[in-house]
């Protein structure tokens, strides 16, 4: 893999992490406002606004590493009519701006619900534009349902685990049994569906007709090995989430009891998502020459 693809892997994962966390916050704000009000704000390492903003700033800075000539980057919005890259950059700017306003909101006092909705919508549009960039008719591996699916599911799994981690950081000894059940149920569903769809997608890849000069053999070598490892990790994550879900059924459950398990699962999710995105770029081949 070319070194510039590592910057794309980092950019897509970090920005999806930020969008996922915001979607988690939107859910918490509207469904569990009492939990939302307990979360930190401002310059605190536990403040979700600061974490999301940092992630999106990091993603943006890393994205410049992919460019051969970052000094020309002011031209990147020139083709909003036809290019999904231009649209992605626009949506990234809107999303970043909404996070900045959200972060500064205690000084500005704009309606928080509206800001969260705008941020969430721009985040979803960012992921959609990001996925559309790769849905190119000349690249059959990417030009299918799996691209938007995997991008949005990455955001959602990061969002679920992000919210669990935030609760762990903020109020580990408070009883949030119902909330944790809902979050883990969402995580379990995402991982389970992702596992099934990934296997289906892999099966389709192995049956792709030979259409390019440098076509990869998907059912052999490192690609296959990493795919299998990723599926095993997904199974481990699913088992871990099921365990936390079962624990959380107890009405007196406090998240502190599952601290180590949540840290381990979060770490495995990072590795699994990194593998998934690596495979995504590794699978690249183009029709023709």
């Amino acid at each position: 893999m070319h070194k510039s693809e590592w910057s794309l892997i980092s950019f897509t994962l970090l920005s999806q992490m930020s969008v996922g966390l915001l979607l988690g916050l939107v859910f918490t704000h509207f469904v569990h406002p009492s939990i939302f009000s307990q979360l930190d704000t401002g310059f605190s390492y536990r403040s979700p606004e600061l974490i999301m903003l940092s992630l999106v700033v990091m993603a943006t800075l890393i994205s410049f590493l992919h460019l051969g000539n970052p000094l020309h980057s002011f031209n990147a919005l020139n083709n909003l009519n036809g290019s999904w890259i231009s649209r992605e950059i626009l949506m990234l700017s809107v999303f970043g701006l909404s996070l900045l306003i959200l972060f500064l909101n205690k000084h500005i006092n704009l309606p928080e619900s509206a800001l969260l909705i705008i941020g969430g919508l721009s985040g979803i549009l960012l992921i959609f534009s990001m996925a559309r960039i790769y849905m190119i008719p000349t690249i059959p591996v990417w030009n299918n349902f799996y691209t938007p699916f995997s991008f949005i599911f990455s955001a959602l799994i990061f969002g679920s685990m992000g919210m669990l981690s935030l609760i762990l950081l903020t109020n580990p000894n408070t009883v949030y049994s119902n909330y944790i059940q809902q979050i883990t149920l969402m995580g379990m569903t995402i991982i389970f569906v992702n596992l099934l769809v990934s296997v289906l997608h892999f099966y389709k890849l192995t049956r792709l007709e030979f259409t390019g000069l440098l076509q990869l053999k998907f059912n052999k070598g490192n690609y296959f090995l990493i795919f299998i490892l990723r599926m095993i990790l997904m199974g481990v994550i699913l088992a871990g989430l099921i365990y936390i879900f079962q624990q959380a059924i107890n009405p007196n459950f406090i998240i502190e009891e599952s601290r180590i398990l949540i840290i381990i699962i979060s770490f495995i999710i990072m590795i699994e998502e990194l593998m998934g995105r690596y495979l995504f770029y590794k699978g690249f081949f183009r029709l023709g020459v």
Binding site: G68, N69, H72, I139, V289
Partner: protein
Amino acid sequence: MKRLAFYFDSSNCSGCKTCQVACKDKNNLAAGSLWRKVYEVSGGEWIQKNKAWIPNIYAYNVSLSCNHCEDPICLKNCPTNAIVKRPDGIVMIEQHKCIGCKYCSWVCPYGAPQFDEEKGVMGKCDLCADYIDQGKNPTCVDACPTRSLDFGDYDDLAKKYKEVDHIYPLPDPEITKPSILIKPHKDAQMAKEINPEVANMEEIKHA
């Protein structure tokens, strides 16, 4: 609107790569970068006839650069509008706008746009637009010792040569409607049927 195009006679090409070298020289390309590439296609197998094994093999060359497509997928997808089409149909990269995101090289099914490591921007065949503006031929056309390359308006070339726009290993021309006409080598038909491969991938894959 004019549509300048290349004509390539695969049945006549010896695979000497003078076109490739002339292009590289004219455009002062760095090592590893080729705006015109010659693909050496070969394949076939041994077949048994009675008690004898007979070679049923083939080989031909395809010289290919940017095809200045009628519907250029690179132009449509460039975020900076750095890829433009002149009124005569030449598709060019305005390097002062290019951010070097390499997206055009991902999408082009002919592998035409290539990254210039030194400048940090993309580059590709511009049909020697400067020569054309002076009334000269593209350098590859003039350099070809077997006169296997020609250029001109697509409709004029189509009347003159009445050839096809698709042989192995080129992609389906419907994707971008390339401005190229090819006279196929007699063995190109076999490539459709018997395990074709490009024999010089090592030479051209990084280019």
